[in-house]
Amino acid sequence: MKINELTKPWSAFNYGFLDESAKREIRRRTLKAVAIPGYQVPYASRDVPIARGWGTGGLQVTLTLLKPDSVVKVIDQGADDSVNASSIRKFLAKVGGATETSDTTEATIIQSRHRIPEEKLREDQILVLQVPNPEPLRPVQPDMSIAREMHGDADYGQLWLILYEQLVRSGRIMQGSSYPSMVNGRHVMTPSPIPRWDVPKLNQADHLTILSAGREKRIFAVPPHTSVEPLVFDDVPYRVEDHQDKTCYRSGVEGFFMNELPQDDGSSLYELSDSHFGIKSIRKAEGEPVTLGETWYKNGRME
Protein backbone atom coordinates (compact mmCIF):
# COMPACT_ATOMS: atom_id res chain seq x y z
CA MET A 1 0.00 0.00 0.00
CA LYS A 2 1.35 3.39 -0.95
CA ILE A 3 1.05 6.59 0.99
CA ASN A 4 -0.88 8.36 -1.77
CA GLU A 5 -3.56 5.68 -1.67
CA LEU A 6 -4.18 6.48 1.99
CA THR A 7 -4.40 10.26 1.68
CA LYS A 8 -6.74 12.44 -0.29
CA PRO A 9 -5.46 13.54 -3.68
CA TRP A 10 -3.78 16.93 -3.59
CA SER A 11 -5.86 19.93 -4.60
CA ALA A 12 -5.25 23.67 -4.50
CA PHE A 13 -8.19 24.28 -2.17
CA ASN A 14 -11.15 22.50 -0.62
CA TYR A 15 -14.51 22.50 -2.43
CA GLY A 16 -16.15 25.83 -1.70
CA PHE A 17 -12.81 27.21 -0.49
CA LEU A 18 -13.63 26.93 3.24
CA ASP A 19 -12.45 23.82 5.03
CA GLU A 20 -15.14 21.42 6.16
CA SER A 21 -14.96 22.38 9.83
CA ALA A 22 -15.50 26.04 8.97
CA LYS A 23 -18.54 25.09 6.89
CA ARG A 24 -19.85 22.88 9.67
CA GLU A 25 -19.49 25.78 12.12
CA ILE A 26 -21.39 28.15 9.85
CA ARG A 27 -24.09 25.57 9.07
CA ARG A 28 -24.70 24.97 12.77
CA ARG A 29 -24.86 28.68 13.51
CA THR A 30 -27.15 29.26 10.56
CA LEU A 31 -29.50 26.51 11.73
CA LYS A 32 -29.63 28.13 15.13
CA ALA A 33 -30.29 31.51 13.53
CA VAL A 34 -33.17 30.02 11.55
CA ALA A 35 -34.54 28.40 14.70
CA ILE A 36 -34.58 31.74 16.57
CA PRO A 37 -35.60 34.30 13.94
CA GLY A 38 -33.82 37.64 14.30
CA TYR A 39 -31.50 36.45 17.07
CA GLN A 40 -27.82 37.20 16.46
CA VAL A 41 -25.79 34.01 16.68
CA PRO A 42 -22.04 34.47 17.23
CA TYR A 43 -19.80 32.42 14.95
CA ALA A 44 -16.12 31.88 14.31
CA SER A 45 -15.51 34.03 11.25
CA ARG A 46 -12.80 32.74 8.87
CA ASP A 47 -10.48 34.55 6.56
CA VAL A 48 -11.61 34.61 2.96
CA PRO A 49 -9.64 36.19 0.14
CA ILE A 50 -11.45 39.52 0.27
CA ALA A 51 -10.96 42.31 2.78
CA ARG A 52 -13.13 42.65 5.88
CA GLY A 53 -15.90 45.10 5.18
CA TRP A 54 -16.34 43.88 1.61
CA GLY A 55 -18.81 41.12 2.30
CA THR A 56 -16.75 38.51 4.13
CA GLY A 57 -19.70 37.55 6.30
CA GLY A 58 -22.02 37.08 3.36
CA LEU A 59 -19.34 35.28 1.38
CA GLN A 60 -18.75 32.71 4.12
CA VAL A 61 -22.45 31.90 4.25
CA THR A 62 -22.69 31.67 0.47
CA LEU A 63 -19.62 29.41 0.30
CA THR A 64 -21.23 27.14 2.88
CA LEU A 65 -24.51 26.96 0.92
CA LEU A 66 -22.75 26.31 -2.38
CA LYS A 67 -23.38 23.15 -4.44
CA PRO A 68 -22.06 22.35 -7.93
CA ASP A 69 -25.54 23.01 -9.34
CA SER A 70 -25.93 26.36 -7.53
CA VAL A 71 -26.75 29.39 -9.64
CA VAL A 72 -25.40 32.52 -8.00
CA LYS A 73 -26.28 36.17 -8.38
CA VAL A 74 -24.24 38.79 -6.53
CA ILE A 75 -25.30 42.41 -6.34
CA ASP A 76 -23.91 45.55 -4.83
CA GLN A 77 -26.59 48.21 -4.26
CA GLY A 78 -28.68 46.55 -6.93
CA ALA A 79 -25.91 46.31 -9.54
CA ASP A 80 -24.48 43.01 -10.79
CA ASP A 81 -21.53 44.59 -12.54
CA SER A 82 -19.71 46.42 -9.74
CA VAL A 83 -16.11 45.28 -9.32
CA ASN A 84 -16.80 43.78 -5.91
CA ALA A 85 -19.98 41.97 -6.97
CA SER A 86 -18.44 40.50 -10.08
CA SER A 87 -15.27 39.36 -8.36
CA ILE A 88 -17.27 37.62 -5.61
CA ARG A 89 -19.43 35.97 -8.29
CA LYS A 90 -16.38 34.78 -10.25
CA PHE A 91 -14.81 33.48 -7.06
CA LEU A 92 -17.94 31.45 -6.28
CA ALA A 93 -17.88 29.97 -9.78
CA LYS A 94 -14.20 29.10 -9.47
CA VAL A 95 -14.18 27.46 -6.03
CA GLY A 96 -17.65 25.89 -6.17
CA GLY A 97 -18.32 25.28 -9.83
CA ALA A 98 -21.43 27.44 -9.53
CA THR A 99 -23.17 28.95 -12.52
CA GLU A 100 -23.14 32.74 -12.62
CA THR A 101 -26.25 34.72 -13.39
CA SER A 102 -27.59 38.25 -13.27
CA ASP A 103 -31.20 37.13 -13.52
CA THR A 104 -32.97 37.06 -10.16
CA THR A 105 -35.47 34.47 -11.34
CA GLU A 106 -32.71 32.02 -12.32
CA ALA A 107 -30.58 32.29 -9.17
CA THR A 108 -30.65 29.75 -6.34
CA ILE A 109 -28.48 31.92 -4.09
CA ILE A 110 -28.45 35.71 -4.16
CA GLN A 111 -25.76 37.48 -2.18
CA SER A 112 -26.46 41.17 -1.82
CA ARG A 113 -25.22 44.36 -0.29
CA HIS A 114 -27.85 47.04 0.49
CA ARG A 115 -30.71 45.85 -1.75
CA ILE A 116 -33.33 43.15 -2.19
CA PRO A 117 -34.20 42.49 -5.86
CA GLU A 118 -37.54 43.79 -7.15
CA GLU A 119 -38.66 40.40 -8.44
CA LYS A 120 -40.27 38.28 -5.78
CA LEU A 121 -38.06 35.53 -4.38
CA ARG A 122 -39.37 31.97 -4.23
CA GLU A 123 -39.08 29.33 -1.55
CA ASP A 124 -36.32 27.56 -3.51
CA GLN A 125 -34.13 30.68 -3.37
CA ILE A 126 -31.94 31.95 -0.55
CA LEU A 127 -31.04 35.59 -0.02
CA VAL A 128 -27.73 36.28 1.75
CA LEU A 129 -27.40 39.86 2.97
CA GLN A 130 -24.04 41.40 3.87
CA VAL A 131 -24.22 43.22 7.18
CA PRO A 132 -21.72 45.85 8.31
CA ASN A 133 -23.24 46.41 11.76
CA PRO A 134 -25.54 43.69 13.11
CA GLU A 135 -26.50 45.39 16.40
CA PRO A 136 -29.63 47.58 16.26
CA LEU A 137 -29.02 48.56 19.89
CA ARG A 138 -25.56 50.00 19.13
CA PRO A 139 -26.82 53.63 19.09
CA VAL A 140 -28.31 53.26 22.57
CA GLN A 141 -25.97 50.74 24.15
CA PRO A 142 -22.30 50.59 23.12
CA ASP A 143 -21.59 47.72 25.54
CA MET A 144 -22.26 44.51 23.61
CA SER A 145 -22.83 42.31 26.63
CA ILE A 146 -25.46 44.68 28.02
CA ALA A 147 -27.04 44.87 24.56
CA ARG A 148 -27.34 41.07 24.57
CA GLU A 149 -29.10 41.21 27.93
CA MET A 150 -31.44 43.84 26.52
CA HIS A 151 -32.33 41.52 23.63
CA GLY A 152 -32.85 38.76 26.17
CA ASP A 153 -35.32 40.95 28.05
CA ALA A 154 -36.90 42.40 24.88
CA ASP A 155 -35.84 45.72 26.38
CA TYR A 156 -36.40 47.92 23.34
CA GLY A 157 -37.80 51.06 25.00
CA GLN A 158 -34.80 53.14 24.01
CA LEU A 159 -35.09 52.17 20.33
CA TRP A 160 -38.65 53.42 20.38
CA LEU A 161 -37.44 56.51 22.22
CA ILE A 162 -35.09 57.34 19.30
CA LEU A 163 -38.09 57.30 16.96
CA TYR A 164 -40.10 59.41 19.43
CA GLU A 165 -37.29 61.96 19.56
CA GLN A 166 -37.07 62.14 15.75
CA LEU A 167 -40.79 62.87 15.56
CA VAL A 168 -40.51 65.53 18.27
CA ARG A 169 -37.48 67.21 16.71
CA SER A 170 -38.17 66.86 12.99
CA GLY A 171 -41.84 65.99 12.76
CA ARG A 172 -40.99 62.78 10.93
CA ILE A 173 -39.00 59.59 11.27
CA MET A 174 -35.48 60.24 10.02
CA GLN A 175 -34.26 56.64 10.00
CA GLY A 176 -33.46 55.77 6.38
CA SER A 177 -31.73 52.48 5.70
CA SER A 178 -31.18 49.77 8.34
CA TYR A 179 -34.66 50.42 9.72
CA PRO A 180 -34.94 48.47 13.00
CA SER A 181 -37.54 45.75 12.66
CA MET A 182 -39.19 43.29 15.00
CA VAL A 183 -38.80 39.71 13.82
CA ASN A 184 -41.38 37.10 14.73
CA GLY A 185 -42.65 39.41 17.47
CA ARG A 186 -39.59 38.80 19.59
CA HIS A 187 -36.16 40.09 18.46
CA VAL A 188 -35.43 43.48 16.96
CA MET A 189 -32.89 43.20 14.14
CA THR A 190 -31.31 45.52 11.64
CA PRO A 191 -32.31 44.37 8.16
CA SER A 192 -28.80 45.52 7.01
CA PRO A 193 -28.53 48.84 5.14
CA ILE A 194 -31.33 48.10 2.69
CA PRO A 195 -33.65 51.07 2.04
CA ARG A 196 -37.01 51.30 3.79
CA TRP A 197 -38.45 50.31 0.40
CA ASP A 198 -37.05 46.78 0.80
CA VAL A 199 -37.92 46.01 4.42
CA PRO A 200 -41.56 44.97 3.76
CA LYS A 201 -40.23 42.38 1.28
CA LEU A 202 -38.88 40.41 4.23
CA ASN A 203 -42.26 40.16 5.92
CA GLN A 204 -43.96 36.77 5.41
CA ALA A 205 -41.68 36.09 2.45
CA ASP A 206 -41.52 32.75 0.67
CA HIS A 207 -37.72 32.69 0.73
CA LEU A 208 -35.12 32.31 3.46
CA THR A 209 -32.94 35.32 4.25
CA ILE A 210 -29.61 34.87 6.02
CA LEU A 211 -27.81 37.96 7.26
CA SER A 212 -24.14 37.75 8.12
CA ALA A 213 -21.58 40.16 9.52
CA GLY A 214 -18.00 38.98 9.02
CA ARG A 215 -16.17 41.57 11.04
CA GLU A 216 -18.64 41.39 13.94
CA LYS A 217 -19.01 37.61 13.62
CA ARG A 218 -22.80 37.42 13.82
CA ILE A 219 -25.34 35.46 11.77
CA PHE A 220 -29.07 36.01 11.96
CA ALA A 221 -31.94 34.94 9.77
CA VAL A 222 -35.50 35.49 8.66
CA PRO A 223 -37.04 32.11 7.81
CA PRO A 224 -39.82 31.90 5.21
CA HIS A 225 -43.28 33.03 6.32
CA THR A 226 -42.00 34.98 9.32
CA SER A 227 -43.24 38.39 10.37
CA VAL A 228 -40.84 41.33 10.02
CA GLU A 229 -42.39 44.54 11.32
CA PRO A 230 -40.58 47.88 11.18
CA LEU A 231 -40.88 49.66 14.55
CA VAL A 232 -43.66 52.21 14.05
CA PHE A 233 -46.17 54.03 16.21
CA ASP A 234 -49.85 53.13 15.76
CA ASP A 235 -50.64 56.63 14.55
CA VAL A 236 -47.52 57.32 12.44
CA PRO A 237 -47.51 54.90 9.49
CA TYR A 238 -44.34 53.36 8.04
CA ARG A 239 -43.28 55.17 4.89
CA VAL A 240 -41.06 53.91 2.11
CA GLU A 241 -38.99 56.28 -0.05
CA ASP A 242 -41.09 58.40 -2.45
CA HIS A 243 -40.08 56.50 -5.56
CA GLN A 244 -43.44 55.16 -6.68
CA ASP A 245 -43.96 57.91 -9.25
CA LYS A 246 -40.35 58.10 -10.51
CA THR A 247 -39.56 56.86 -14.02
CA CYS A 248 -36.33 55.13 -15.02
CA TYR A 249 -34.76 57.25 -17.78
CA ARG A 250 -33.18 54.20 -19.43
CA SER A 251 -36.05 51.72 -19.39
CA GLY A 252 -39.10 53.91 -18.95
CA VAL A 253 -40.19 51.64 -16.11
CA GLU A 254 -41.81 53.26 -13.10
CA GLY A 255 -42.85 52.29 -9.59
CA PHE A 256 -39.62 50.78 -8.28
CA PHE A 257 -36.67 51.86 -6.16
CA MET A 258 -34.47 54.25 -8.14
CA ASN A 259 -30.94 55.64 -8.06
CA GLU A 260 -31.03 59.41 -8.26
CA LEU A 261 -28.60 60.94 -10.74
CA PRO A 262 -28.20 64.67 -10.10
CA GLN A 263 -27.84 66.75 -13.28
CA ASP A 264 -25.82 69.89 -13.92
CA ASP A 265 -28.98 71.98 -14.18
CA GLY A 266 -30.03 71.03 -10.65
CA SER A 267 -32.65 68.51 -11.71
CA SER A 268 -32.35 64.76 -11.28
CA LEU A 269 -32.65 61.74 -13.49
CA TYR A 270 -33.69 58.40 -12.09
CA GLU A 271 -32.63 54.91 -13.04
CA LEU A 272 -33.74 51.55 -11.70
CA SER A 273 -31.52 50.51 -8.82
CA ASP A 274 -32.10 46.81 -9.60
CA SER A 275 -29.97 47.02 -12.73
CA HIS A 276 -30.72 43.63 -14.26
CA PHE A 277 -34.43 44.16 -13.80
CA GLY A 278 -33.91 47.31 -15.87
CA ILE A 279 -31.96 45.44 -18.54
CA LYS A 280 -34.64 42.78 -18.81
CA SER A 281 -37.35 45.42 -19.02
CA ILE A 282 -35.57 47.10 -21.94
CA ARG A 283 -35.07 43.77 -23.74
CA LYS A 284 -38.67 42.87 -23.26
CA ALA A 285 -39.75 46.24 -24.64
CA GLU A 286 -37.57 45.56 -27.64
CA GLY A 287 -39.42 42.30 -28.24
CA GLU A 288 -36.90 39.82 -26.92
CA PRO A 289 -38.34 36.72 -25.22
CA VAL A 290 -37.37 37.53 -21.65
CA THR A 291 -39.36 36.64 -18.58
CA LEU A 292 -39.91 39.27 -15.93
CA GLY A 293 -40.66 37.67 -12.57
CA GLU A 294 -43.57 38.75 -10.45
CA THR A 295 -42.59 41.85 -8.50
CA TRP A 296 -43.20 42.67 -4.85
CA TYR A 297 -44.37 46.18 -5.70
CA LYS A 298 -47.11 46.64 -8.26
CA ASN A 299 -47.75 50.16 -9.61
CA GLY A 300 -45.41 51.50 -6.93
CA ARG A 301 -47.35 49.90 -4.07
CA MET A 302 -46.97 46.81 -2.03
CA GLU A 303 -50.25 45.26 -0.96
Binding site: G157, F233, D234, D235
Partner: protein, 276 residues
Protein backbone atom coordinates in the same frame (compact mmCIF):
# COMPACT_ATOMS: atom_id res chain seq x y z
CA UNK B 1 -46.25 35.19 35.96
CA UNK B 2 -44.17 37.74 34.07
CA UNK B 3 -47.13 38.25 31.78
CA UNK B 4 -49.11 39.75 34.63
CA UNK B 5 -46.90 42.85 34.31
CA UNK B 6 -46.22 42.67 30.62
CA UNK B 7 -49.82 43.28 29.72
CA UNK B 8 -49.00 45.72 26.94
CA UNK B 9 -50.96 48.74 27.97
CA UNK B 10 -51.72 50.50 31.17
CA UNK B 11 -54.46 53.03 31.65
CA UNK B 12 -53.75 56.73 31.44
CA UNK B 13 -53.12 58.66 34.64
CA UNK B 14 -56.16 58.49 36.87
CA UNK B 15 -56.85 60.86 39.69
CA UNK B 16 -58.03 58.84 42.62
CA UNK B 17 -59.60 60.11 45.77
CA UNK B 18 -57.36 59.65 48.80
CA UNK B 19 -57.63 56.20 50.30
CA UNK B 20 -58.19 55.61 53.93
CA UNK B 21 -55.15 54.23 55.67
CA UNK B 22 -55.80 50.51 55.84
CA UNK B 23 -54.29 48.06 58.24
CA UNK B 24 -52.63 45.88 55.58
CA UNK B 25 -49.13 47.08 54.64
CA UNK B 26 -48.29 47.64 50.98
CA UNK B 27 -44.59 46.92 51.53
CA UNK B 28 -43.10 44.39 53.89
CA UNK B 29 -39.39 43.71 54.12
CA UNK B 30 -37.97 41.28 56.64
CA UNK B 31 -34.44 40.56 57.83
CA UNK B 32 -32.62 42.40 55.05
CA UNK B 33 -28.84 42.00 55.36
CA UNK B 34 -26.23 43.02 52.83
CA UNK B 35 -22.46 42.98 53.03
CA UNK B 36 -20.06 44.56 50.55
CA UNK B 37 -16.57 43.24 51.24
CA UNK B 38 -16.05 43.96 54.94
CA UNK B 39 -18.75 46.63 55.05
CA UNK B 40 -22.02 45.45 56.51
CA UNK B 41 -24.32 47.94 54.80
CA UNK B 42 -27.56 46.48 56.17
CA UNK B 43 -28.02 44.31 59.28
CA UNK B 44 -31.31 42.45 59.45
CA UNK B 45 -33.50 45.44 58.64
CA UNK B 46 -37.31 45.13 58.81
CA UNK B 47 -39.50 47.68 57.03
CA UNK B 48 -43.25 48.05 56.80
CA UNK B 49 -44.97 50.72 54.71
CA UNK B 50 -48.70 51.36 54.70
CA UNK B 51 -50.65 52.49 51.64
CA UNK B 52 -50.77 56.25 51.21
CA UNK B 53 -48.21 57.11 53.85
CA UNK B 54 -44.81 58.77 53.59
CA UNK B 55 -42.09 56.85 55.36
CA UNK B 56 -39.03 58.99 56.04
CA UNK B 57 -35.65 57.34 56.47
CA UNK B 58 -32.94 59.40 58.18
CA UNK B 59 -29.42 58.59 59.21
CA UNK B 60 -25.86 59.71 58.78
CA UNK B 61 -23.83 59.18 55.66
CA UNK B 62 -23.04 55.50 55.10
CA UNK B 63 -25.83 54.27 57.37
CA UNK B 64 -27.36 52.21 54.53
CA UNK B 65 -30.29 54.39 53.45
CA UNK B 66 -29.56 54.29 49.72
CA UNK B 67 -28.72 50.61 49.87
CA UNK B 68 -32.12 49.91 51.41
CA UNK B 69 -33.85 51.98 48.73
CA UNK B 70 -31.97 50.13 46.00
CA UNK B 71 -33.32 46.88 47.49
CA UNK B 72 -36.84 48.30 47.37
CA UNK B 73 -36.27 49.15 43.71
CA UNK B 74 -34.98 45.59 43.14
CA UNK B 75 -31.67 46.90 41.81
CA UNK B 76 -29.77 44.66 44.18
CA UNK B 77 -30.42 41.43 46.08
CA UNK B 78 -29.60 41.12 49.79
CA UNK B 79 -27.61 38.26 51.31
CA UNK B 80 -30.67 37.46 53.39
CA UNK B 81 -34.21 38.77 53.69
CA UNK B 82 -37.63 38.86 52.06
CA UNK B 83 -39.58 41.53 50.21
CA UNK B 84 -43.31 41.59 49.52
CA UNK B 85 -45.44 44.19 47.80
CA UNK B 86 -49.22 43.94 48.03
CA UNK B 87 -50.18 44.64 44.43
CA UNK B 88 -53.54 43.90 42.87
CA UNK B 89 -53.51 40.71 40.85
CA UNK B 90 -50.06 39.66 41.94
CA UNK B 91 -49.07 36.38 43.51
CA UNK B 92 -47.55 37.32 46.85
CA UNK B 93 -44.04 35.92 46.55
CA UNK B 94 -40.64 37.07 47.77
CA UNK B 95 -39.69 39.64 45.12
CA UNK B 96 -35.99 38.87 45.49
CA UNK B 97 -36.66 35.55 43.76
CA UNK B 98 -37.73 37.34 40.56
CA UNK B 99 -35.37 37.25 37.58
CA UNK B 100 -34.01 40.30 35.81
CA UNK B 101 -36.86 40.51 33.32
CA UNK B 102 -39.58 40.12 35.93
CA UNK B 103 -37.93 42.77 38.09
CA UNK B 104 -37.76 45.17 35.17
CA UNK B 105 -41.45 44.69 34.43
CA UNK B 106 -42.44 45.04 38.07
CA UNK B 107 -40.40 48.24 38.32
CA UNK B 108 -41.82 49.60 35.07
CA UNK B 109 -45.40 49.18 36.23
CA UNK B 110 -45.36 49.59 39.99
CA UNK B 111 -42.30 51.44 41.30
CA UNK B 112 -41.09 54.97 40.59
CA UNK B 113 -37.76 56.31 41.79
CA UNK B 114 -36.11 59.72 41.98
CA UNK B 115 -32.37 59.79 42.58
CA UNK B 116 -30.36 62.62 44.08
CA UNK B 117 -28.14 62.51 41.01
CA UNK B 118 -30.27 63.20 37.92
CA UNK B 119 -27.68 61.42 35.75
CA UNK B 120 -28.73 58.15 37.40
CA UNK B 121 -32.39 58.65 36.57
CA UNK B 122 -32.39 60.52 33.24
CA UNK B 123 -31.11 60.15 29.70
CA UNK B 124 -29.48 63.55 29.34
CA UNK B 125 -29.30 63.51 25.53
CA UNK B 126 -33.02 62.92 25.05
CA UNK B 127 -35.82 65.41 25.54
CA UNK B 128 -37.53 65.75 28.91
CA UNK B 129 -40.82 64.50 27.49
CA UNK B 130 -38.89 61.62 25.90
CA UNK B 131 -37.53 60.63 29.29
CA UNK B 132 -41.09 60.32 30.54
CA UNK B 133 -42.21 58.65 27.31
CA UNK B 134 -39.56 55.96 27.68
CA UNK B 135 -41.35 54.71 30.77
CA UNK B 136 -44.61 54.48 28.85
CA UNK B 137 -42.85 52.82 25.91
CA UNK B 138 -41.45 50.13 28.20
CA UNK B 139 -44.97 49.55 29.45
CA UNK B 140 -46.15 49.06 25.87
CA UNK B 141 -47.67 52.40 24.79
CA UNK B 142 -47.24 52.58 21.00
CA UNK B 143 -49.36 55.57 20.06
CA UNK B 144 -47.38 58.76 19.48
CA UNK B 145 -50.21 61.16 20.30
CA UNK B 146 -50.99 59.24 23.49
CA UNK B 147 -47.30 59.27 24.47
CA UNK B 148 -47.22 63.05 24.06
CA UNK B 149 -50.40 63.49 26.03
CA UNK B 150 -49.42 61.20 28.88
CA UNK B 151 -45.92 62.70 29.12
CA UNK B 152 -47.48 66.17 29.20
CA UNK B 153 -49.86 65.15 31.99
CA UNK B 154 -47.10 63.66 34.11
CA UNK B 155 -44.83 66.69 33.63
CA UNK B 156 -47.73 68.97 34.47
CA UNK B 157 -48.46 67.03 37.66
CA UNK B 158 -44.80 67.50 38.59
CA UNK B 159 -45.28 71.25 38.03
CA UNK B 160 -42.79 71.28 35.20
CA UNK B 161 -43.21 74.20 32.75
CA UNK B 162 -44.76 72.58 29.66
CA UNK B 163 -43.20 75.09 27.26
CA UNK B 164 -39.92 73.34 27.99
CA UNK B 165 -41.15 69.77 27.74
CA UNK B 166 -38.93 69.00 24.76
CA UNK B 167 -35.79 70.58 26.20
CA UNK B 168 -32.97 68.23 27.12
CA UNK B 169 -32.45 67.77 30.87
CA UNK B 170 -28.86 68.91 30.38
CA UNK B 171 -30.25 72.34 29.44
CA UNK B 172 -32.35 72.57 32.60
CA UNK B 173 -31.69 73.66 36.18
CA UNK B 174 -31.23 71.09 38.94
CA UNK B 175 -34.75 71.68 40.29
CA UNK B 176 -36.25 71.16 36.84
CA UNK B 177 -34.24 67.99 36.33
CA UNK B 178 -35.71 66.62 39.55
CA UNK B 179 -39.19 67.44 38.27
CA UNK B 180 -38.48 65.46 35.10
CA UNK B 181 -37.35 62.52 37.22
CA UNK B 182 -40.51 62.88 39.25
CA UNK B 183 -42.72 62.98 36.14
CA UNK B 184 -41.02 59.85 34.86
CA UNK B 185 -41.50 58.17 38.23
CA UNK B 186 -45.23 58.92 38.47
CA UNK B 187 -46.12 58.54 34.77
CA UNK B 188 -47.55 55.06 35.33
CA UNK B 189 -49.10 55.79 38.74
CA UNK B 190 -46.74 53.59 40.71
CA UNK B 191 -47.84 51.79 43.83
CA UNK B 192 -44.62 52.96 45.44
CA UNK B 193 -42.59 56.11 44.93
CA UNK B 194 -38.98 55.96 46.15
CA UNK B 195 -37.14 59.23 46.72
CA UNK B 196 -33.42 59.20 47.50
CA UNK B 197 -32.47 62.68 48.65
CA UNK B 198 -34.57 64.29 45.91
CA UNK B 199 -33.81 67.83 47.00
CA UNK B 200 -30.25 67.55 48.28
CA UNK B 201 -27.97 69.92 46.43
CA UNK B 202 -30.77 72.28 45.40
CA UNK B 203 -31.05 75.88 46.59
CA UNK B 204 -33.16 76.14 49.72
CA UNK B 205 -35.90 78.06 47.86
CA UNK B 206 -35.95 75.56 44.98
CA UNK B 207 -35.92 72.73 47.50
CA UNK B 208 -39.03 74.15 49.14
CA UNK B 209 -40.83 74.32 45.78
CA UNK B 210 -39.99 70.71 44.91
CA UNK B 211 -41.12 69.57 48.36
CA UNK B 212 -44.37 71.47 47.80
CA UNK B 213 -44.93 69.57 44.59
CA UNK B 214 -44.28 66.29 46.38
CA UNK B 215 -46.77 67.23 49.08
CA UNK B 216 -49.39 68.17 46.51
CA UNK B 217 -48.90 64.91 44.67
CA UNK B 218 -49.12 63.02 47.91
CA UNK B 219 -52.32 64.78 48.90
CA UNK B 220 -54.05 64.59 45.51
CA UNK B 221 -53.06 61.08 44.58
CA UNK B 222 -52.33 59.51 47.89
CA UNK B 223 -49.11 58.00 46.54
CA UNK B 224 -47.18 55.80 48.94
CA UNK B 225 -43.68 57.26 49.34
CA UNK B 226 -40.41 56.24 50.91
CA UNK B 227 -38.25 59.33 51.31
CA UNK B 228 -34.57 59.10 52.21
CA UNK B 229 -32.79 62.15 53.50
CA UNK B 230 -30.17 63.12 56.00
CA UNK B 231 -31.94 66.44 56.34
CA UNK B 232 -34.27 66.27 59.33
CA UNK B 233 -36.06 69.40 58.14
CA UNK B 234 -37.11 67.66 54.92
CA UNK B 235 -38.19 64.57 56.80
CA UNK B 236 -40.18 66.65 59.25
CA UNK B 237 -42.12 68.46 56.49
CA UNK B 238 -42.86 65.32 54.53
CA UNK B 239 -42.98 62.17 56.61
CA UNK B 240 -45.85 60.53 58.47
CA UNK B 241 -43.55 57.99 60.03
CA UNK B 242 -39.79 58.01 60.47
CA UNK B 243 -37.15 55.32 60.57
CA UNK B 244 -33.74 56.24 61.99
CA UNK B 245 -30.77 54.27 60.69
CA UNK B 246 -27.21 53.93 61.87
CA UNK B 247 -24.49 51.53 60.67
CA UNK B 248 -26.97 49.46 58.70
CA UNK B 249 -29.43 49.09 61.56
CA UNK B 250 -32.77 50.64 62.42
CA UNK B 251 -32.21 52.27 65.82
CA UNK B 252 -35.66 53.78 66.22
CA UNK B 253 -38.90 54.20 64.37
CA UNK B 254 -42.29 55.70 64.99
CA UNK B 255 -44.72 58.45 64.06
CA UNK B 256 -42.91 61.60 62.93
CA UNK B 257 -44.23 63.76 65.77
CA UNK B 258 -43.22 61.19 68.30
CA UNK B 259 -39.67 60.90 66.92
CA UNK B 260 -39.18 64.65 66.78
CA UNK B 261 -40.78 65.49 70.13
CA UNK B 262 -39.84 62.55 72.20
CA UNK B 263 -36.88 60.65 70.73
CA UNK B 264 -36.10 57.53 72.74
CA UNK B 265 -32.77 56.36 71.41
CA UNK B 266 -29.66 58.30 72.41
CA UNK B 267 -28.59 58.55 68.78
CA UNK B 268 -31.95 59.99 67.72
CA UNK B 269 -31.86 62.44 70.61
CA UNK B 270 -28.47 63.60 69.40
CA UNK B 271 -29.75 64.01 65.85
CA UNK B 272 -32.89 65.86 66.83
CA UNK B 273 -31.18 68.16 69.29
CA UNK B 274 -28.38 68.97 66.91
CA UNK B 275 -31.04 70.03 64.44
CA UNK B 276 -33.17 72.09 66.78
Amino acid sequence: MADAFFDGRTPAIRHRPPRLMTAAPILTMGGISRTYGDVQALRSVDVIVYPGEVLGIVGESGSGKSTLLRMMNLEDTPDAGTYHLALPGRVDDNLFTLDRFQRRMLRAHHIGIVYQNPHLGLLMKHSSSGNVAERLLIAGERNFAALRQRAREALDASEFPLTRMDARPSELSGGMQQRVQLAKAIALEPALLLLDEPTTGLDVSVQALVLDTLKTLQRDRNITMVLVSHDLGVIRTMADRVMVMRSGEVVEQGLADQIFQDPQHAYTQQLVHAKL
